[in-house]
Symmetry: C2
Subunit: 229 residues, 2 copies
DNA sequence: AGTTCGCCGTTTGTATCCAAAATCCATCGT
DNA sequence: ACGATGGATTTTGGATACAAACGGCGAACT
């Protein structure tokens, strides 16, 4: 009944548990964009009072996952196309930087992990799994960069744009399984990226990353009509 | 006794008033980096309870102005040199983008305002005023960019790096008033920037902005020892 | 004398309670 | 039939109250 009750052991503040609980629910799609978040309901689900929930909502608002209107309530953030394009444009500047700074620090184990992830990604056909793995792959490729703020920001971008990727890849997987160029193209990008990383060629990897994100952004622009609802 | 009591009229949530109150106190230096923020004390200053204060602290934590340790308390964020360098590196990627996107949308009134600010900046000798004006100048130059998230992020960077600029310019103004190259160099950068904006040359302005920030970053690196305390 | 243990005051985290604003629904009017 | 309007209900914002954890100080021990 209280899904996060087990976590209560660690003396961790309820507000952080609530934050993780809600963030997970938003990211894996249980809470749809636009869905209203009633404090009392969430508090009951967690077996807590509204106070920690309110703080969680505020945290998530700052992360961009929730929109909080002063006396009206909280809703799962729904980004229109322009906002998504903006985020992709920002990512286009920051993720190449993260990758360039990460490349020289990537350990052999990290590279092996990336290779393993790439294989898993190519095999997986389930959109949900694909999403999780692709995210892991890219974030892992940045993780060695000694820029904690940058890494946190980038993770935030992946979170707020997750709904977009979900819609997009669900559609891709459902309607045009083997002959859509987007997915194979992504696989090629992954290969090139991994190759550059193994050669420790930071500027090459960085350039490819920029291209990869730009291509994705333009692909999204082409299917813009699908997201406006 | 309650400094923000007048604002209570607008039906604005106390938590937002508390946020603004604390943010202003941190930015103008009344609250020094590392200073402990006791919820009850702040609540008393505002004539409110701790609840809105807690939410304000959480917001400011996400903005990077406050460090919040779960059962220990909140402190004004103190960034070490590496973190500042990281933020400048990020700014180096994002502010040229903001400027490039802003340039074509700058109205004639906005340009006139920028010219006026530039003159004021060159005249002013008080470090506090200089800081405020320089900030206004740059943020105003970005303001026309149709990228709200980006603009908010950039404002956040200026906020979290404010303590650095304060220390730096106070020192410059106090110890080497007329013969330090940094300030005249900044003025030249402003001139070039304004010129590019008036020519509506986005890529030129963008390039200059990158150079401007990079130069600042390297200048800071040279006086790194001053900030380690 | 220095270090460690334990107690006490302080501060945080959370629950409960109250007032005010917003939402929703039914009613009324056109 | 459709839209506006009013009140009842829900829901949020905030205050107060209480329990638990942290931090500092003194005392005892090595």
């Amino acid at each position: 009944m209280a899904p996060a009750e087990a976590d209560r052991a660690g003396g961790e503040p309820l507000s952080e548990i609530a934050t993780r609980y809600l963030r997970a629910a938003i990211l894996d799609g249980r809470l749809r964009p636009g869905a209203r978040l009633r404090q009392e309901a969430i508090a009951r689900e967690l077996g807590a009072s509204r106070i920690p929930v309110r703080e969680a909502l505020r945290t998530l608002e700052n992360e961009g996952l929730v929109n909080l209107t002063p006396r009206s309530g909280a809703r799962v953030a729904r980004l229109d196309y322009a906002e998504h394009a903006e985020l992709y444009r920002i990512r286009e500047e920051l993720e190449p930087l993260a990758l360039a700074e990460s490349t020289p620090h990537l350990s052999d184990e990290a590279l092996a992990h990336l290779r393993a992830l790439k294989l898993q990604i190519e095999r997986s056909r389930d959109p949900g799994v694909w999403l999780v793995l692709d995210r892991q792959f890219h974030l892992a490729s940045y993780a060695a960069a000694p820029m904690h703020r940058l890494l946190k920001m980038i993770e935030g971008f992946w979170n707020t744009t997750q709904q977009y990727r979900r819609v997009y890849y669900r559609m891709v997987a459902a309607e045009l399984p083997p002959d859509d160029p987007a997915l194979p193209m992504t696989h090629i990008d992954h290969c090139l990226l991994l190759d550059a990383l193994e050669r420790r060629d930071a500027s090459d990897a960085s350039r490819m990353m920029r291209t990869h994100i730009r291509r994705t952004r333009l692909t999204l622009a082409a299917s813009q009509h699908l997201f406006d609802e």
